[in-house]
Symmetry: C2
Subunit: 202 residues, 2 copies
């Protein structure tokens, strides 16, 4: 879905307010349990206003909420993800990630939305690929800051850290156990530990 062109700053703010409200409703009541009328009531907007911002109605709102929830995945890791410049900040980030997904438990707002849009639909693929790209870029910047790794090695390390998060979260959601996520992240970031503070590991 493209942002409707020619929105004023006020228009963009209103649109964003609707997206955030719809996202909260969906988190609370599920996709099936959230109607256009619910969104309209929660945001005190008229039907014609809604269709002004989301010409295709429900499908446009769902697409916008999916993009919003993809951003929230990164937001939940801030401020740590944006400043992975020390070993301590990597540890803080790891802690934030484990805490966040432990709190979410089996809920996965983005996962429910992409399931609704079709797990392998072009729309889902675009949102998720863009999320992974931004996430990977932030991790690469962090790896490059704390190591002298070349670009390829930093990319490999970043992908391996990102994959550890994805795998750990999937395993947390199916088993209720956090230790896979913890163990995988600990191993994945351990090469970033400053020399001289290495602990024994395989």
């Amino acid at each position: 879905m493209k942002m409707k062109k020619g929105l004023t700053a006020k228009g963009r703010a209103t649109r964003q307010r609707i997206v955030v409200a719809a996202a909260l409703l969906i988190r609370e009541k599920g996709i099936a349990g959230t109607s256009l009328d619910d969104v309209r009531v929660a945001t005190a907007t008229s039907k014609s206003q809604l269709f002004h911002y989301f010409p295709e109605g429900r499908s446009d709102i769902l697409a916008a909420v999916t993009e919003y929830e993809a951003c929230q995945v990164l937001e939940a890791q801030q401020p740590f993800l944006g400043d992975l410049s020390t070993w301590e900040s990597w540890q803080d980030w790891q802690h934030a990630v484990v805490t966040h997904y432990t709190e979410l438990g089996q809920r996965c707002p983005l996962g429910s939305l992409t399931a609704e849009l079709g797990k392998s639909s072009p729309q889902t693929r675009a949102v998720v690929s863009s999320l992974y790209d931004k996430w990977e870029a932030a991790l690469v910047r962090g790896v490059e800051t704390v190591t002298s790794a070349g670009r390829d090695a930093a990319l490999g390390r970043a992908r391996s850290i990102l994959t550890a998060v994805q795998g750990g979260v999937v395993m947390l959601q199916t088993t209720g156990r956090t230790d896979y996520l913890e163990a995988a992240l600990t191993e994945a970031i351990s090469p970033l530990r400053p020399v001289g503070t290495q602990v024994g590991s395989v």
Copy 2:
């Protein structure tokens, strides 16, 4: 679901034949597209025979097929997973895993079945936890064989390898890209490479 008690060897074989046929039908036509009648026709069994082996009918068959598909996840990694006793066998296993999931692409027989049973239902949790436990045990045995790691370090390494597979496969299924799986597995098994053949990595 418990295996019906008191089945003869012949009975067990018939039951297994029905499960395998149902699994193939479901792989081909999807869960919604596979009826009890389809299973009956494909296996040349009568209705009363089917209910003899699967007293609750469809739900019993789905549960049995889910357990079967969980076993197939490990089968697809054999003979490599059962003998990770050299660095070469770890590399062969990595290659087999990447090839297998690349071929599957967006299909995930076990994932579709657990989605049908409820992603966080007790039934799904039992099957998936048991799968992870067996998988982890095989990886731990391999790590212990090729390193001098203690039990804890071997467990951490095994979990991190298993998580790399889960994460890489999820990312492959949503993006169509295999490089996350490849990069994460390469990093996760690299500490198992014999000393003296280490390549530079972060």
